[in-house]
């Protein structure tokens, strides 16, 4: 949190916060406000100098410290927090409603109650102008897999699953230690420690063909870290080869669907892109499917692999 621009909102929230929690520890309060204990003490010192006109001993905000805990003796009329702004109410309420849209959210009822209470408290600050639909498409197989996965997450159990890896076009059996389920860009993922790959992996829910709970606890190693989703789920690796493609207007969706390194506009709505790929066979499959809508300019091994596959396939259509 940026201390200079967020300081006033914090100062206005601090006194009511402390009133609601008499004798709270400085560290805990600092943690809730996302600042250091040192910064919080500075804020408290400042508030001590503020109060009602007159500004005598009985008019100033009075806080008492006992060891590392704080209490409020006089609040100078600042007993409640400021109402939510329109943007705050929007950000929170739209996010809550989005949870209702997520398949398998544990407690839709609790979400609805929270929405109703926040709406009532927020008063006129009604959300507007932002809508979110996760739009998760879930077939019957995936819904069943999700239920098994969620039960294992709640019960902290390991899973055995049959998983389709699209990049290699293969189906494998894996034992995984589930960590959490994510929904990103309309798709559900299981984040888990994969014992076979010995690493944290994101498994697409719609590619889990079969899954069973094991009679052993989920035990991801302590160094298994959650994926940072802020920069998207997929992070191309610098050692992966780069395909240089020219996409026709009908194939431009490729640059919106897959992460591309770079792109350059060409005449007639064509787009030249540079795209990293982990697996040659995956890239060949993509390009065969695009037909004439994508022209590959390099690297040479990709061009020759593609040509060979196309020629062999054509022989089957004679």
């Amino acid at each position: 949190m940026n201390t200079s621009t967020d300081r006033l909102p914090r100062l206005l929230a601090l006194v009511p916060y402390l009133i609601a929690r008499p004798g709270i520890a400085v560290d805990e309060a600092a943690n809730d406000f996302g600042v250091s204990a040192k910064q919080l003490r500075k804020d408290l010192e400042l508030l001590w100098m503020c109060g009602l006109p007159g500004y005598g001993p009985g008019d100033l905000i009075d806080l008492s410290f006992e060891g590392d805990t704080i209490s409020v003796n006089f609040d100078a009329g600042m007993s409640r927090p400021l109402r939510l702004t329109g943007s705050e109410a929007t950000a929170l309420l739209v996010a809550l409603r989005t949870l209702l849209d997520a398949p398998g959210v544990a407690d839709a009822d609790a979400v609805r109650r929270a929405v109703a209470k926040i709406e009532a408290a927020a008063g006129q600050a009604q959300p507007a102008g932002v809508a979110v639909g996760l739009g998760v498409r879930e077939g019957a197989t995936t819904a069943k897999a999700r239920e098994v996965v969620q039960k294992a997450l709640r019960g902290n159990r390991a899973l055995r699953m049959t998983y389709y890896t699209a990049s290699k076009d293969e189906i494998t059996e894996r034992t995984v230690d589930p960590m959490r389920m994510l929904i990103v860009e309309g798709r559900g993922y299981l984040e888990a420690w994969c014992r076979r790959a010995e690493g944290v992996r994101l498994f697409r829910m719609d590619r889990i063909d079969d899954v069973t709970e094991l009679d052993e606890p989920a035990a991801p190693p302590p160094y298994a870290e959650q994926t940072d989703t802020t920069a998207g789920l997929f992070h191309p690796q610098p050692d992966q080869p780069v395909a240089q493609l020219v996409l026709s207007p009908d194939a431009r969706w490729v640059s919106e669907y897959y992460p591309v390194e770079e792109s350059a506009e060409l005449d007639g709505g064509h787009l030249r892109v540079w795209m990293r790929y982990a697996d040659l066979s995956w890239m060949v499959r993509l390009l065969l499917g695009l037909g004439g809508d994508a022209v590959v300019e390099g690297p040479a091994d990709l061009v020759s692999a593609l040509r060979e596959r196309a020629v062999r396939a054509l022989a089957r259509y004679r």
């Binding site: 939510l84 809550l96 979110v132 593609l306 022989a315 089957r316």
Partner: protein, 323 residues
């Protein structure tokens, strides 16, 4: 913000909350510590204007008015009922939902606003533990540079113009839009509004906006029709009616795993001297099915229908000619 200014602003809020009378600027100057430091009238009014703006930006309802009809200037006060957040108590399961909701956004604009809301709920006495793990965590990300300016335009009710690239048929052209809202559907952001050039409601994908979003006209001029459902508008524009049909393929033995997991094996057959399986597959659109199947090259051959067989054949031909 300097300590002096922060202290002055807190005192100003406390002072205006405690008065029922409208306080004119001159009285505020005499009462609230900090303003006495202003060396002259001009410096004071500049300071006071800046402070008022700051309070309004935080959403503090600063009222202006006169106590008596013969007052010569406006005064200021803050009505407590408009300032204070209403009473709220959340059960533990409701607070857990709030914690999860705050984690939804991966967006500078919306993450900041959600945290602002969380701060106030905590100040209202609600305990929200952000460390509680959830069974499902939805994430919504904003990366498009156009998002911030469009959200701001939606919130201030201002029209915008931008260059928009349509992929097919390819064209880049300027659009002027009265934005009603921003919508995330299946992980993609859209802006919905009244297109002034087309005289009709339209939605635009944010990732296809080229360059800057420019503001047009004054704030407060855009009115969103009450009956419009933003999400439905986008979701129905992007949905095509699915037409499923059953197709028959030959698949080489133990190959094309991606097709096999969706297919049913109905027999065996040799093709070009190679052993394979006859399978049936449900597909939605001929176009997407043709791309999917063509990807498997010589390992997957369409037997029928003919229209799909031709579509796959054409793709393979085009690739062979271009490489």
């Amino acid at each position: 913000m300097s300590v002096v200014r922060a202290e002055r602003l807190v005192n100003l809020v406390l002072c205006l909350l405690s008065t029922r009378q409208y306080l004119p600027a001159e009285s505020i100057r005499k009462i609230v510590p900090g303003y006495k430091d202003a060396p002259n009238d001009e410096a004071f009014f500049r300071m006071f204007e800046r402070d008022k703006t700051e309070l309004r930006e935080l959403g503090i309802p600063l009222e202006t008015g006169r106590n008596w009809s013969f007052d010569r200037v406006d005064g200021y006060r803050i009505a407590r009922r408009d300032y204070e957040l209403g009473d709220i108590e959340l059960e533990p399961d409701e607070a857990a939902a709030v914690a999860l909701a705050v984690r939804l956004w991966d967006s500078p604009e919306l993450t900041g606003a959600a945290h602002g809301a969380l701060l106030k709920l905590r100040a209202a006495g609600v305990d929200v533990d952000q460390g509680v793990p959830a069974v499902v965590e939805p994430k919504v990300r904003t990366t498009e540079p156009a998002f911030g300016p469009l959200l701001a335009a939606v919130q201030t009710g201002q029209a915008v113009s931008f260059d928009y690239r349509r992929p097919s048929p390819a064209e880049l052209r300027g659009r002027t839009l009265e934005p009603w809202g921003v919508v995330s559907w299946r992980g993609r952001w859209y802006v919905v509004g009244h297109d002034r050039d087309r005289h009709a409601p339209r939605c635009f994908r944010l990732s296809r906006i080229v360059g800057d979003v420019r503001l047009v006209g004054r704030p407060g001029t855009v009115r969103r029709p009450e009956e419009v459902d933003l999400l439905k508008f986008v979701a129905s524009s992007s949905n095509e009616p699915p037409e499923t049909s059953t197709v028959q393929l030959w698949l080489a033995k133990h190959r094309a795993a991606g097709l096999r997991r969706r297919a049913t094996v109905v027999g065996e057959r040799e093709l070009d001297g190679e052993q394979g399986d006859l399978v049936e597959l449900e597909v939605l659109h001929t176009d997407s099915a043709a791309s999917w199947i063509a990807g498997y090259g010589q390992d997957a051959v369409v037997l029928e229908p003919d229209v799909l067989r031709k579509a796959v054949h054409e793709r393979l031909l085009a690739v062979a000619e271009a490489t």
